[in-house]
């Protein structure tokens, strides 16, 4: 590591964190699983870190008013056991198994992953799939940003440099919702491509559908046209195949790279199909 080049502030309360962030240059250290390798890389520029691990009250994990509220120090592994019932709990439990490996899950945090905004990461995809809201605290007070406008580019979010992501609110999913997740064989930490689905069936018919493609563009996106194709269907194999076909057209990454386009489109076609089939197993059940 480059000892001289790192300034380290161990904050004890949120006010100290915001004071440290006021210069617009300081990075927030939560789990550190992505940040530490970056700041310690040989040749990395000097940096200033504010460690939030000693701040009280940051480990909120509670269901409240139809939402799961998650604080900045909730580690990935907290989601390995059911923290909330219903389809949201299923989704979190399925997805967390794919994140890194046990040591990463022991340290890394959900909010850290959301703020880091790796285009292939799992939690941003969950946030987009379920329509989470992000609560930011800063010099001008608190504000809430919906997930679909929070992620703006790779490693870039609507969070201003002076702000801290203090909470994510994940809406619980209605009865009759099934969830699905499928990913392409990964190189090591992140998937090359993945699809995530949450589909609600009421009276045998798809009444709500969310299908999110991971690493298909600068940030996770809902395949809206594909979702619309699924709505009102009976969730048959044919409906799934058609939906996957529409979803595959949405891969927007590396438009200039013609050589890999057909293979990537095919990957999303297959992954969307697998995620939807997985979702169908849980959909339509009540209570």
């Amino acid at each position: 590591m480059r000892p001289a080049a790192v300034e380290y502030i161990a904050a004890r309360e949120v006010g100290e964190v915001l004071a440290a962030l006021a210069d617009g240059e300081t990075s927030v250290l939560a789990g550190g699983q992505s940040l530490v390798p970056v700041v310690t890389r040989p040749g990395a520029p000097p940096c200033r870190l504010v460690d939030i691990n000693r701040v009280g009250g940051f480990d909120t994990l509670a269901e409240d008013d139809g939402c799961l509220r998650v604080g900045p120090l909730v580690r990935h592994r907290a989601f390995e056991s059911g923290v909330v019932g219903g389809a949201l709990g299923d989704l979190l439990r399925v997805v967390v198994q794919h994140i890194g490996h046990p040591p990463i899950r022991a340290r890394g945090t959900m909010l850290g992953s959301l703020a880091y905004a790796h285009p292939a990461a799992e939690w941003p995809a969950v946030a987009v799939t379920v329509g989470a809201r992000m609560v930011l605290d800063g010099p001008d007070g608190r504000r809430t940003v919906p997930a679909d406008t929070f992620f703006t580019a790779p490693f870039t979010t609507a969070r201003r440099p002076q702000e801290l992501l203090v909470e994510a609110r994940l809406p619980t999913l209605p009865d009759g919702t099934g969830i699905g997740y499928a990913e392409d064989r990964r190189s090591s930490i992140y998937p090359q491509a993945a699809a995530m689905a949450a589909v609600t069936v009421t009276g045998g018919v798809v009444s709500a559908a969310a299908l999110c493609l991971v690493n298909s563009g600068p940030h996770p996106v809902r395949a809206v046209a594909a979702e619309n194709a699924l709505l009102g269907t009976r969730f048959s194999d044919t409906a799934i195949a058609l939906t996957a076909e529409v979803a595959a057209e949405q891969d927007t990454r590396r438009l200039d790279d013609d050589a890999t386009r057909p293979a990537r489109r095919q990957a999303y076609r297959v992954l969307a199909r697998r995620a939807l089939r997985h979702a169908r197993q849980g959909a339509g059940r009540c209570g």
Partner: protein, 887 residues
């Protein structure tokens, strides 16, 4: 605030930004290993308040007020932690560099996580074992064997270093505290080819802590090769410690030596260099064309370069018989061109060395090397020192795979020590390992072969292009070796080979497990598979008709090697196993395409041109024996076998044998731990030393050499061994004559036509290693070789862009096989006894790697109906090929 480490409070405040791993190592916890610096490899795993973390991505500050447990603190007062014990029992390690991290991660797994190791151990990489032994360890191994007197050979004795490996007390290259240590960092070239016009060192020297800056003006005006061989003429002398001309992006330009790593890095950043950029050539085919930029145009035959004016380091144009007549006599002829990419050795311990002057002012270099003696010779020659003024010693080496048959750091460390008079350390980062160590040689191989309908191969023609990169280390030898055993294993009357090794302005390639055989085997075995298909014969029968048999001569185009022969033969047994494998059945997912394929490989036991070993065995006053042997231990297990030989030859038990090794002060000479020689060359020297000592012990008791029954672990003919100690015996072996070993691999695979995903349904390997000295260890070596080769076949590639820049620089980009990627391989041993090797043993080590890629290629061909010729076989390439072959 203090940090509690293994129950003891530590008061020293971490430096700002220091990671926990560095802090722990500074506090003496050397069991915490540095493998990647990026949270990818898991070698640094420790527990913080009982939770496993990768300590390289955990700021040390954060551990204040917390309790840290490292591998050193895992064992309880009553002995080893159960996970340590099971890793010891199952021998769940080879080099052991990843083991502390594996054990720490495993010790914190829940039962559910233990049942799903592909996911739970994703964060812990092992390059040696292929994970089978690790999986066995996690599931609880059976207790280690304790062979009785005289019964060690053939038993699955554990590695002597096992207890140290599982407790984190084995000492690797950097696991020592050197007072007053200076740190070395280098500035690396941003240009693929340039002349250095000037280096302004003033700003660098002004950095507090910087002690010296070294440039080409300080370097000896002598050429050498980083490659290490007994025969120094084998490699071209084309390299300088620091050169005025840089020939690849990443080559050393200048070195900064400072009191801390940070100061050395800051010094490097402040160097100002003026370059004259020269034209560069990246593509090996273009490098041979007239008018191509010359990489070593200033050198020639005198330096060992065959045609420097065409960038050709070495070439082979030779034949036996008449290939044209052979093709004319064929009923079927097939020709195809194959390409293999650069692959990294990815030993978890990077290259590096620590040097100092000892009390007698001798230069001491402690290095992560496979060749301590040859490195001493090279350092002595470069700096004009007599050999007795240089000592090279290796600690336990954290993996090599050929990459450390190379002097990549010791020369510059020596120069810095001699310049400053102080201890100096240089440890490669993981990124430097990718951009500035060596890789496997990329090959382009065209094979044309013909056969008659009765199965006889009538002609074989090889055209081979080897890219050695900017320097010729191992380049010509890898080409010659690659073109030899691959065709010599067949009794073909007409063979023609045309091969070139060429320079390009890219990162140099070097020795890599298999030494060229893997690349050429990949092509030859696939072309023969296709020929068998064309004449409608099964591939095993086709091999049986054509392979060499006992008594056959092993000639192939090129220099005749008269000391090589078939001193035992088990290839027929290997093929029988492969035929049996094919009669099994497996189920594949619906809609997947299933195929099977096999390939064979032969390897000479040791290199041509001499490979020397010395050993001394001494009877100590307490009745134990001390073995001194020069070869290095880097997880290959030669030490275990040497102990077994000593125990049996001197009728004692393995726990009464001490070993001193890997140190130029210990014995006269040893060529080194490469070319699969640990058993067949060093082991033979050990055997001879034992027999010399045994004769002396018996003589001391007035008994003849055949009366060995009167020798026990405590006495000889009733006389206590203590009364005749000390006594010594020495042995030497020059590595000639040589026998050959055989390997055969078979796979059944399934391919998902929807995604191109390839799944191995069954893997069977059969090996003829002569006498199996240690079944558990040999099985592990084969599993590890197969796993590495599966990685190189399905995933691994180091990429170089059009400018010559290596773009694969971290484990996150370069996919090493994880638990999830490696199937279990059934391993079978042929029953043979070699007439040359010690106690009938032959070499193995490298050779299990070689038949794997072509066997997978043949299985894929069987599944798809067409052949893929370029490695690696990634899912997207397979899927794209399926699309391209749709009618």
């Amino acid at each position: 605030m203090t940090i509690e480490i293994n129950g003891t409070p530590h008061d020293r405040t971490p430096l700002p930004g220091q990671c926990l791993r560095t802090y722990l190592r500074e506090e003496g916890c050397f069991g915490v290993k540095k493998g990647c610096d990026a949270g990818d490899c898991g070698a640094c795993t420790v527990h913080v308040d009982g939770t496993p973390v990768h300590s390289c991505v955990y700021p040390a500050f954060r551990a204040q007020g917390r309790s840290v447990t490292t591998i050193e603190g895992l064992a309880g007062p009553s002995g080893l932690h159960p996970v340590q014990q099971s890793f010891l029992d199952a021998q769940g390690f080879q080099c052991g560099f990843c083991t502390a991290g594996m054990i720490m991660t495993t010790a914190a797994l829940t039962d559910d996580q233990r049942a799903d190791l592909p996911r739970s151990l994703k964060g812990n990489l092992c390059r040696c074992t292929g994970y089978r032994a690790i999986t066995d360890a996690v599931n609880g191994g059976s207790p280690a064997v304790c062979p009785a007197e005289g019964a060690a050979v053939g038993s699955s004795l554990g590695a002597p270093a096992g207890p140290q490996v599982v407790t984190g007390t084995a000492r690797y290259t950097f696991d020592l505290d050197v007072p007053g240590l200076l740190h070395l960092k280098v500035l690396r070239s941003p240009h693929a080819h340039a002349r250095i016009l000037s280096v302004d060192t003033s700003a660098a020297l002004a950095v507090p802590g910087v002690e010296a800056v070294l440039t080409h003006k300080d370097a000896p005006d002598r050429l050498f090769s980083t490659a290490q061989h007994e025969n120094e003429a084998e490699d071209p002398y084309d390299t300088r410690v620091l050169d005025e001309v840089v020939r690849f992006i990443g080559q050393r330009v200048a070195a900064v030596v400072a009191t801390s790593e940070a100061a050395a890095e800051e010094g490097v950043r402040r160097l100002r260099v003026e370059y004259e950029v020269l034209p560069a050539v990246i593509d090996p085919a273009l490098a041979m064309l007239p008018g191509a930029p010359l990489v070593h145009g200033d050198k020639g035959i005198a330096e060992g370069i065959v045609r420097a004016n065409a960038n050709v380091v070495g070439e082979l144009h030779a034949g036996i018989g008449d290939v044209e007549a052979g093709f004319a006599a064929a009923d079927a002829v097939y020709e195809a061109t194959f390409r293999t990419p650069r692959v990294q050795h990815a030993a978890l311990e990077t290259h590096g060395a620590v040097g100092w002057l000892d009390d007698d002012d001798r230069l001491v270099i402690r290095s992560s090397t496979q060749t301590p003696f040859l490195t001493r010779r090279a350092v002595s020659r470069l700096f004009g020192l007599s050999r007795d003024r240089v000592r090279v010693v290796a600690g336990r080496v954290g993996g090599g795979f050929g990459g450390k048959q190379e002097m990549l750091v010791e020369d510059l460390v020596a120069m810095a020590v001699l310049r400053t008079g102080r201890p100096v350390k240089w440890e490669y980062t993981r990124s430097e390992q990718f951009t500035a160590a060596t890789t496997r040689h990329p090959f382009v191989i065209t094979v044309k072969a013909g056969a008659r309908v009765d199965g006889l191969i009538t002609a074989l023609q090889l055209t081979v292009l080897v890219n050695t990169g900017a320097y010729g280390n191992h380049g010509a030898s890898v080409m010659h070796h690659g073109c030899h055993e691959t065709v010599a294993v067949y009794r073909c009357a007409n063979i023609r080979t045309d091969a070139h090794t060429v320079y390009t302005n890219t990162v140099p390639a070097g020795a890599f497990r298999g030494y060229g055989l893997g690349q050429v085997t990949f092509a030859v075995e696939q072309v023969l598979d296709e020929l068998a298909r064309m004449i409608g014969m099964d591939p095993v029968t086709f091999r049986e008709i054509n392979v060499v048999r006992p008594g056959d001569d092993l000639t192939a185009p090129g220099a005749h090697v008269p000391d090589l022969g078939i001193a035992s033969y088990g290839l027929d047994q290997c093929l029988d196993r492969i035929r049996a494998a094919s009669s099994t059945t497996d189920t594949a997912p619906d809609g997947w395409l299933v195929g099977e394929g096999m390939a064979i490989a032969m390897i000479a036991a040791g290199p041509p041109g001499g490979h020397f070993a010395d050993a001394t065995v001494t009877l100590l006053p307490d009745g134990r024996y001390e073995l001194a042997v020069g070869t290095a231990e880097f997880g290959n297990g030669s030490t275990t076998v040497h102990v077994q030989i000593v125990a049996d030859e001197l009728r004692t038990t393995p726990d009464r044998v001490l070993v001193r090794q890997s140190d130029t002060d210990v014995v006269g000479h040893d060529t080194g731990a490469f070319a699969s020689t640990g058993v067949v060359v060093a082991g033979e020297a050990v055997l001879r030393a034992c027999r010399a000592l045994r004769a002396r012990i018996l003589a001391a008791a007035e008994r003849g050499p055949s009366e060995i029954r009167c020798l026990t672990a405590d006495s000889v003919a009733g006389i206590s061994l203590a009364t005749i100690a000390p006594l010594s015996g020495s042995g030497h072996f020059d590595g000639t004559p040589r026998s050959v070993a055989f390997n055969a691999q078979w796979f059944r695979v399934a391919v998902d036509p929807d995604t191109g995903e390839l799944r191995i349904l069954r893997s069977v390997h059969s090996a003829d290693a002569g006498t199996v000295m240690n079944p558990l260890q040999l099985r592990g070596q084969i599993e590890g070789g197969v796993a590495q080769a599966i990685g190189a076949t399905l995933a691994e590639h180091v990429d170089v862009d059009e400018a010559g820049q290596v773009t694969t620089t971290t484990f996150r980009q370069y996919h090493l096989p994880t638990v999830a990627d490696v199937p279990e391989t059934e391993v079978h041993f042929a029953r043979t006894t070699d007439a040359i090797g010690p106690l009938g043993a032959k070499s193995m080590s490298e050779s299990p790697y070689n038949p794997v890629s072509p066997a997978l290629g043949n299985a894929l061909r069987d599944a798809l109906g067409f052949r893929l010729t370029d490695l690696p076989y990634t899912a997207d390439r397979i899927w794209q090929a399926i699309q391209d072959h749709r009618p």
